[in-house]
């Protein structure tokens, strides 16, 4: 089962020998729900439910929109903004992850992308520019008193580092409550299964090559839990022979050195797997050591 998908222009329910697949686009990624069942009515209904949920989370948390809560928070100009309970819980989660990672996981680091454009070119920003933007980075500068969040003017939060994984988990839980058919939810390569396939078979998942689209590096068999991959697949800068990965250290404002090209982590939930793979990349040269120490099941490519 390839994780890379042909991107359909509109939602499609298709039958394959292993069951039914509902494909759609959300969060700028191809998304799919696989059903180990041939109940097309059920698959269509749940597929639509998945799409609705993915689009709901995208609408609510995308930083590319001007009409949502994130835009309101980021554009408040230093004024407090009241958030709903779901957002509050995600902010609490982000807060805990910030502390747990000693500042490496930081939802305010998105402003760094104003100066870092990872387009395969050699446009590495000058040091002064990086230094100038750093005052706008740092979760500890944010005043978060549930349900009010206050950013310094110019700061931004971006839940993109959590949103897709969160969407996968929530969608899977919703769908699994509706059917006993085994399911796989895959939003742009972040995936989670409801359990083994019928007859206790395993879901086959390919880890895509970082170098060539459509070429798989490994085939994994998953029967429980989630898999996510972090990597710099075709997103990097190359200058004077130095490869700058798109993983930025929010404490320095610079790309992490010697990070693995990609890290795939297995965990019970997509959010855990996603955070662990991101944190592993942020360790740079120490990624493998970190993964071993944390005792998580992982694969990486150098």
């Amino acid at each position: 089962m390839p994780t890379h998908l042909a991107t359909p222009p509109h939602p499609v329910l298709s039958a394959v020998p292993e069951g039914l697949i509902y494909t759609f686009r959300a969060m700028a990624s191809p998304c799919e729900v696989r059903f180990d069942s041939y109940d097309a009515d059920m698959a269509a209904r749940l597929g639509e439910m998945a799409e609705e949920e993915a689009l709901r989370i995208e609408r609510k948390y995308s930083r590319y929109r001007s009409d949502n809560l994130i835009a309101q928070i980021n554009g408040a100009g230093g004024a407090p903004v009241e958030v709903d309970p779901e957002t509050a819980m995600l902010l609490d989660y982000a807060d805990a992850a910030y502390k747990l990672s000693r500042g490496l996981f930081d939802i305010t680091s998105g402003v760094l992308r104003r100066i870092w454009k990872f387009d395969g070119s050699d446009r590495v920003p000058p040091r002064e520019q990086v230094r100038a933007i750093l005052p706008l980075v740092g979760w500890h500068k944010v005043r978060w008193r549930n349900p009010f969040i206050t950013l310094l003017p110019g700061m931004e939060i971006d839940l993109g580092g959590l949103g897709k994984e969160y969407a996968v988990d929530i969608t899977l839980l919703k769908l699994a409550a509706e059917t006993r058919a085994p399911l796989l939810v895959n939003f742009g390569g972040d995936l989670r299964v409801s359990g083994p396939r019928a007859g206790f078979g395993r879901w086959r998942v390919a880890i895509e090559s970082v170098d060539e689209e459509g070429v798989s590096e490994a085939l994994l068999q998953v029967s429980q839990g989630a898999l996510t991959t972090s990597g710099d697949a075709r997103r990097f800068l190359l200058k004077d022979g130095v490869r700058y990965s798109h993983i930025l250290n929010p404490r320095t404002g610079w790309p992490v050195k010697d990070a693995p090209r990609s890290v795939t982590v297995a965990a019970a939930t997509c959010m855990e797997a996603g955070l662990m793979s991101t944190l592993a990349m942020l360790q740079g040269r120490g990624a493998e050591k970190f993964l071993r120490r944390e005792g998580v099941q992982a694969w990486w490519m150098r």
Partner: protein, 467 residues
């Protein structure tokens, strides 16, 4: 016992907890926000191992109906167990059991071609009883000139002597607590007590289980200490004295100390194996105070008198138990074997097989079979022969003789939700032994001397967990 706390790092552990909390909480919030969301239980069942009841309280209620062939023992046994699981892995369980036993029990004497009359003290001696009354097929009689009330019952010719006067009620209470000492070590303690009209038992248990090798291996050890007090209705008879209506000696007790050590190993994805060694030492009164032996004429085999039986005061049991759980296609099989030996001379072998077959995603059926065979205890005697010296110990209890037993059964379960199951099991159990032992004296050669049981039982239960 299997431990399933993975050895994980600080970040990974904290993250797991954070995420589980978030998803459970958001599940609850999404419900107020919009229709069609899952309840927290659904989240937990997906986020946690399906095996663990982490955070759940489970209630398991069942009733056993047991009936032996030939109008012998009939029992009804309801049980109720509540297990409370904390989110951090503590487990507290409380169980109660009640038992109602009625029917006839072999008294230990051999059948004979003529009717036999047995005289025993009344269960409840009463100073006012001067009339005779019928009670459970027996008769209460005041022994002339003594004021002693005796109970007499007559057994028909050519039938196994049984005493119909047994009625008992038992209740029991079990308490257990276990906690994770560290992520890989679980310690547990327990206590239990049970009481019958003529018997009381209390016990204490402590155990430790440690998992290693990435939770693939669990080693466990536990000890148990039990104290039992036997309070026969008419006192404790002295072994090899003549059965009579007299009141007997004081209550008698015994202690049991046992140790079980075992290893549970995940062999692969489809195979879980367990190997246990257990040893137990019982000391004290282990005789059946109601059981007698026929002393027969050395030529005709006719019963001349009935003596109370006697058993050794010490018994050491050892067993080796090997259990396997195998996932075979869509089915789950249990295959186990046990070898047992004790200092009374009993050796036994047990083999048990069952296979759980899913019929639908909610319903399973599980046929099961068991074979058991044992040798006789060294002091097992069907009867004693008049004129021969008395042995040091003797009992005609069929449980101490040589026999084999076969069980056939089937179990079925229906799960209404992932956390609620109705189950039922029916079983037939039959012991077979030597009915006409070689060298039986005189007319005893024509009698069926084997007093083993055949029984059928049904158990119905309902188990459910809630958050």
């Amino acid at each position: 016992m299997q431990l399933r706390k993975p050895r994980r790092g600080r970040v990974s552990q904290a993250l797991g907890l954070m995420t589980a909390n978030l998803l459970a909480a958001v599940g609850a919030h999404a419900q107020d926000a919009q229709a069609g969301s899952m309840d927290p239980a659904q989240v937990a069942s997906v986020t946690n191992d399906t095996e663990t009841d982490l955070g759940y309280t489970r209630i398991d209620a069942a009733v056993l109906f047991y009936q032996e062939a030939g109008g012998r023992v009939r029992a009804t046994e309801p049980t109720l167990t509540a297990t409370l699981n904390s989110d951090s892995g503590d487990v507290l369980s409380v169980g109660i059991v009640a038992d109602t036993l009625t029917g006839a029990t072999p008294n230990g004497a051999m059948p004979w071609k003529q009717s036999q009359t047995f005289v025993t003290p009344a269960h409840s001696p009463s100073t006012t009883a001067t009339v005779t009354t019928a009670s459970g097929g027996s008769t209460l009689v005041t022994v002339p000139g003594t004021g002693i009330i005796s109970r007499q019952y007559v057994v028909a010719p050519n039938t196994l002597p049984v005493d119909n006067g047994f009625k008992d009620q038992r209740w029991g209470l079990n308490l257990g607590y276990s906690t994770l000492w560290n992520p890989n070590t679980r310690v547990s303690v327990g206590a239990s007590a049970s009481n019958e009209r003529d018997y009381t038992s209390v016990s204490l248990t402590a155990g430790v289980a440690r998992s290693f090798n990435q939770n693939m291996t669990t080693a466990a050890a536990s000890i148990d200490f039990e104290y039992d007090l036997s309070r026969p209705f008419f006192g404790t008879p002295t072994p090899f004295t003549v059965m009579s209506a007299d009141q007997k000696g004081p209550n008698a007790s015994k202690t049991v100390a046992s140790l079980v050590v075992g290893v549970t190993q995940v062999m692969n994805r489809y195979w879980l194996a367990q190997l246990n060694y257990s040893v137990g030492s019982t000391n004290g009164y282990q005789t059946d105070p109601y059981r007698i032996l026929s002393v027969v004429d050395p030529v005709s085999g006719a019963p001349l008198q009935y003596l109370y039986e006697g058993r050794p005061g010490s018994r050491i049991r050892q067993s080796l138990y090997f259990a396997n759980k195998l996932a075979i296609g869509p089915t789950f099989a249990d295959v186990s074997a046990r070898a047992y030996i004790d200092s009374w001379g009993i050796k036994s072998v047990t083999a048990e097989v069952s296979d759980r077959i899913p019929l639908t995603s909610h319903l399973f059926i599980e046929p099961e079979g068991r074979y058991y065979t044992q040798t006789a205890a060294s002091f097992f005697r069907n009867y004693l022969v008049s004129g021969q010296p008395l042995p040091r110990y003797a009992s005609s209890d069929s449980r101490l003789g040589a026999f084999s037993a076969v069980t056939w059964g089937v179990r079925a379960g229906y799960d209404f939700t992932p956390h609620a199951e109705l189950y039922v099991q029916g079983e037939s159990y039959k012991q077979t032994g030597v009915t006409h032992p070689a060298g039986a004296i005189g007319n005893l050669a024509t009698q069926n001397l084997f007093s083993g049981v055949s029984a059928t039982s049904v158990i119905v239960g309902f188990s459910f967990a809630f958050y």
